[in-house]
Amino acid sequence: MTLQQVQAQSYTFDELALESGEKLGPITIAYETYGKLNSDKSNALLVLHPLSGDAHAAGENGWWTNLIGSGKAIDTDRYFVVCSNVLGGCKGSTGPSSINPKTGKPYGIDFPLITIGDIVNAQHQLIDHLRIEKLLAVIGGSMGGMQVLQWMVSYPKRIRSAIPIATTMKHTPQQIAFNEVARQAIIADPDWRSGNYYDHSIPTKGLAIARMIGHITYMSDASMAEKFGRKFRSDKALFKFGADFEVEGYLHNRGDNFVRRFDANSYLYITKAIDYFNILNGHSLCDIFRGLHAKVLVIAFKSDWLYPTYQSQEIVKACKLSGVDASYCEVNSTYGHDSFLLETVLEGQLISNFLLSVTNGKGQGA
């Protein structure tokens, strides 16, 4: 992809009524677009990022650059792709590290609690601003997949298709438990200072540990064995409990890199939003997607134990019970939850075939 096609932009609007009842504003949403919007605005895709992602999905170092670009599965010669940083994030969108207009200082933990619903409502404002009446597709994995499900429920008339990947209709106790350990690692770091660390040193230790826990859950027994085995690092640490094994070195490295690009408070707020996520919210599987006329493609990965395939099958079951035109594929991959970022050949074929069939109006109701 040529760099001219990547457009980093932002949109600011006055206020958003949050699901908690609080009001937050002004809100800035950072976003990037790739490709060109066609004259009837029928080729727009919204790509939704996972927990640690941002608006930079494609181009150099883009988190989904394997899938998005000229001639790739999400072909920017054909589609106009929008990806925005979530509300509560730290890469240009309003979040706890943004300046609170009331105090002139970063919000810190004065930032209100947000939900996946709030995140999607903010995206909806952006799509209105871009004057896109109907998105060709909303696509995302993990937390991005939760946003896809939220779009299917909150704005069914604004989407022609949806691709939730490696995700769940509600966070389970095991998933909440891992997030809670990550949060407690941040909170236990003395540098966290109850969230008011912006004028001081940041809680690097806590955030790095949080990221290490995350990475363990993103991989699989098989992918770790293949990647690291029981190999020792060449620059072996000299003290007793240093990082001897390669897997330890890898986790330290991932943790250390993460603290340079992510805000600890954002991590707290976004993981909470994920934990609160329950798209059913009192509804039954039979009626949650009733009235949705979009085509749905659900993708899961066999080795994903963080978001096991049964959770994707639940989404499929809800689609079947609501009479939604859906498809389901369980990709055979050993990468664990990370498969949705790494196993991009098969995933890409599925996505590109599906998008073409939606574009051409193939299948039911055509």
């Binding site: 035109d325 498809s327 075939n353 299948g363």
Partner: protein, 194 residues
Amino acid sequence: MANNFDFRLFDSWIGKGASVLDLGCGDGALLAHLASQKQVRAQGIELDEQAIIRCVAKGLSVFQQDIDTGLSEYADGSFDYVILNQTLQQVKKPAFVLQEALRVGKKVIVGIPNFAHYKVRTNIFFKGRVPITVALPFQWFDTPNLHFLSVNDFRDYCKKNVTIECSFFRADARQVKLLPNLMAEYGYFLLSKT
């Protein structure tokens, strides 16, 4: 493994605008044909990843699922037709799968390879080897077929609690009207619950 001959037969059995569930739909060729020619509301179930990718390209609604585990998420009689074309002999529990198909579908269409075709018989009798024919093209060590049955075996099985409303037999691209258990490579049955 549907061919043009199958397409014409299914066209004649399935009404316009019907709802159809194809168990073991492969690359979705039959379903795509029925969707375009008979405007059926089509769904497929398939195990193979590559086949699913090709179904998705055809715009079909397809689910990766093992039909041996049943069809519990489908209500009774939720489809006009459930198809088991060249599938029943490949599942682990054919009796259970057929029972589930009859529960979910108002009618069930079963297509099977006939193990009592005369070429199969002569192969075994004169050569003493497991036959490899058009309908049974696999070596013993890599065949997906777990069960071998004849037209008469299937008819006998149906006597218990299934009604055969229609049947059709063919060898290659010819219809077989005489002695199907001997002359047909394939048998097709339109079934309903007794």
